[in-house]
């Protein structure tokens, strides 16, 4: 595997991990924009725009876009998060150019009024769908409680109201400032013809303008609180927790990931043995998520409402024990084996490598090979884990619980 990169004159970067042994190629446009770059009056615009990008260009109707992707046998999709919007496709290597042609074309969408109004309905359906599913919108609520007015607290979907009120012109101006050549890049992985890729991207995207857009990165002061939200239609009680953790640019993130694996992986972790294996909860887990300038531990527990208080106090006790006493060498060894195997197994698919290469470039403008990650995982010591616990206590958190409980018994 070989890393290659190139920057066009307008600032558009092209990065690729080339692997001649692969059967397919994964290609994507990564835009440095997401919910955190929005303002109140356009809440949800990044995600809505992601849908609109598939609705056609001056050269292609929406039907053409879908049809042409399918003609190439492409496996393609897009997603929007708090800080990025990603469009990707996996194809057989001979379709590298045609798929780049479609992807680069749709990066300059027409944003037509009638498509905007039609797609608005789909977005509202999507919002309603998530509102009916656990955690019933509480993932947004907990970010608001934890981060207050910090941009990371913004909802990716927005609400029925904000999306309903959004005008197409607002989307157009958001697009102009965010989808600029210096605020996005092309990533590729698998059987990539890199020299050809540079030419293919240059000829299609070389005339795009930079905008010198910057992301606002205010410091945050997280809050610690507890909220119980009654929802009588639910069967189970859900408990969500958010705590501060190492950020994307913090090298301690590897220790944080191993810590999360030891404490709250969905199998073989402390939460697994104490809560899941005995059947006390439906699920209990802890994961580490990284953003620019902030990281988070996100915990999730779901169980019968009548057992919620007891399970919650057990969870708190386990967090307290981990915080005070740390972890054992064999736990760390097991977590490392597991995480390393996941890295290796995941690396066999070019599509997975695409997200890895793209993710590293988004967060740190760096390339990390599979070996780099394996070494970083191996290098973590129990002292590192202790250091992370000290700096980012897992028992200082914001909690939101939602379910049939009218109020949390004290």
């Amino acid at each position: 595997m070989k890393f290659r990169s190139h920057t066009l004159e307008n600032g558009l970067e092209i990065v690729a991990e080339c692997n001649d042994k692969a059967h397919s190629v994964g290609l994507g446009f990564f835009i440095r924009t997401g919910a955190r770059d929005e303002t109140d009056d356009v809440s949800g615009v990044s995600h809505f725009l992601e849908h609109m990008v598939f609705k056609g260009t001056p050269r292609r109707s929406a039907d053409d876009v879908n049809r042409e992707f399918d003609e190439l046998g492409a496996h393609y999709n897009a997603f929007t998060s708090e800080e990025n919007t990603v469009y990707y496709a996996s194809v057989l290597p001979e379709y590298q150019e045609p798929v780049i042609d479609i992807l680069s074309d749709i990066m300059r969408p027409s944003l037509r009024d009638e498509d905007f109004n039609m797609e608005k309905k789909v977005i509202i359906e999507e919002i309603q769908m998530y509102a009916d599913q656990p955690p019933f919108g509480m993932d947004d609520r907990i970010k608001e409680l934890h981060y207050g007015h910090h941009p990371l607290a913004r909802s990716v979907l927005g609400t029925e109201f904000t999306v309903g009120e959004l005008a197409v012109d607002q989307m157009r101006s958001y697009f102009e400032s965010r989808y600029a050549s210096d605020n996005m890049f092309v990533a590729a992985a698998g059987k990539v013809d890199f020299d050809a890729l540079v030419k293919q991207v240059e000829s299609r995207c070389g005339s795009w303008k930079p905008s010198l857009t910057l992301r606002d990165l205010p410091p945050y002061e997280s809050q610690s609180s507890f909220q119980c939200v009654p929802r009588s239609a639910s069967t189970q009680q859900y408990i969500l927790q958010l705590a501060d953790a190492p950020a994307a640019e913090d090298s301690r993130r590897f220790a944080a990931k191993l810590l999360a694996t030891m404490f709250g992986d969905d199998s073989g972790s402390r939460l697994y043995w104490e809560l899941v294996d005995p059947g006390l909860v439906e699920s209990a887990s802890l994961g580490h998520y990284e953003y620019q300038g902030a990281g988070m531990y996100f915990s999730w527990l779901s169980c019968a409402p009548e057992d919620a208080v007891e399970n919650f106090s057990r969870l708190s006790e386990l967090q307290h024990i981990a915080q005070e006493k740390g972890f054992k060498a064999e736990e760390l060894h097991q977590a490392k084996s597991k995480v390393k195997a996941r890295v290796v197994l995941g690396s066999e698919r070019p599509r997975n490598r695409l997200f890895n290469v793209g993710g590293n470039w988004l967060q740190r403008r760096e390339y990390r090979s599979v070996d780099d990650d394996l070494k970083a995982i191996d290098a973590v010591t129990l002292d590192d884990i202790e250091g992370v616990l000290k700096e980012f206590p897992i028992n200082r958190h914001t909690t939101v619980t939602v379910g049939p409980l009218e109020k949390w018994p004290t």
Partner: protein, 422 residues
Amino acid sequence: MTATQDKTKQTTIFTHRLANGMTLVGEPSDSVQSAAITLLVPCGYSADPVDQQGLASVLCDMVLRGAGRRDGRSLINDLEVLGVERGESVGASQTSFSAATIAENLSEMLAIYADIVRRPRLPEDQLSAAKLVCLQEINSIEDEPSQRLMIELRKRTYPEPWGRSSHGSEAGIAIIESSDIQGHWSRYYRPNAAILGVAGSFRWEQLLEQVEALFGDWKASDVPMIVERQSDQSTPHIEYDSNQCHIGIAYPSVPYRDPNYLRAWAAVGILSGGMSSRLFTEVRERRGLCYTVSASLQTQLDRARVLCYAGTSEERAQETLNVTFAELLKLRNGILPEELARLKARIKSGLIMQQESTSSRSGSIAREWYHLGRVRTLDELGKLVDDLTGPMINEYLEAHPPQDFTFATLGPRPLELPCEIS
């Protein structure tokens, strides 16, 4: 187009039948670092006693609570130290154990799985925990409206016991005792009809030798035939307090081993596969009626159904149902050549990309053996796709038009169900 023939690496698929009836299917590859297994044990939910639905599911949880010389904790921990990514599921006719790891750990992983299926400890003091785990799963589905709807749809469209929920029922799980677990395991966890699929970096001769040593002396056992009966027809609507209304439509199709299967599968692919497919285009893109709409062909050994799903806000639910249903009827008029060309491109790139995952290969070859009693290479499958023509699919659709529909809905209010026009 013959992309598949050119692009798939010429792989060989080896098969071997042990004297006790267990089948080993292996596809070695030297271009990957991993190895994966899929072990299909002939213990599905269809064999659960009618008053103990969920028995196979509880048993599946129990076999992981210690096996051979390991107790439950060391079993899971040892698998994790080997870097094993694992998953278990209970289907209509089988319990499936899948596991993948880096190639050098294959043989150790395999030995642990032999313990799990052949020498589980089935500890009595863990039964209540195992039952609780299974009950938790049932409760969690109550909060997942789309899953609940599809369980109901399957129940309504299949004859008993084929449409049961693999999770079983609360009442069924409640009365399970340790002797039931022991009895069910000794009867149903058996080599005859068991299939082990292995894909990835390994040597066939070596694997064969190890599998003979691990499973060769496993004793065969006979099980009673499954008796099929009409399922109880409940009302098609489940009242549910939600924003969206969930719609399910099912109709019969042909199972995997039927010579027409590929045609039936292709027809469903034209309905729902890729964003230019009919349902996505007509229901979502043109009308903005919903976020999710899909159809898939679900096959068991002797029967199959096409299952369609759409989720939409209540006020647009009736229109969504009508438009979706109209597309199913329209399929009777046949498909267009350009639709088939797109579908072929998707299938073929899918086949080639499948080589990039040893987990999905081990599962595919094990299931092929289950359905066909033989395994085709990706190369052969590619040729079959190449040979598929529009007239072949249209002929099939003419002989087997979508009909005999079953409906299920879940939401605040029932919908008006279409009368079938034939």
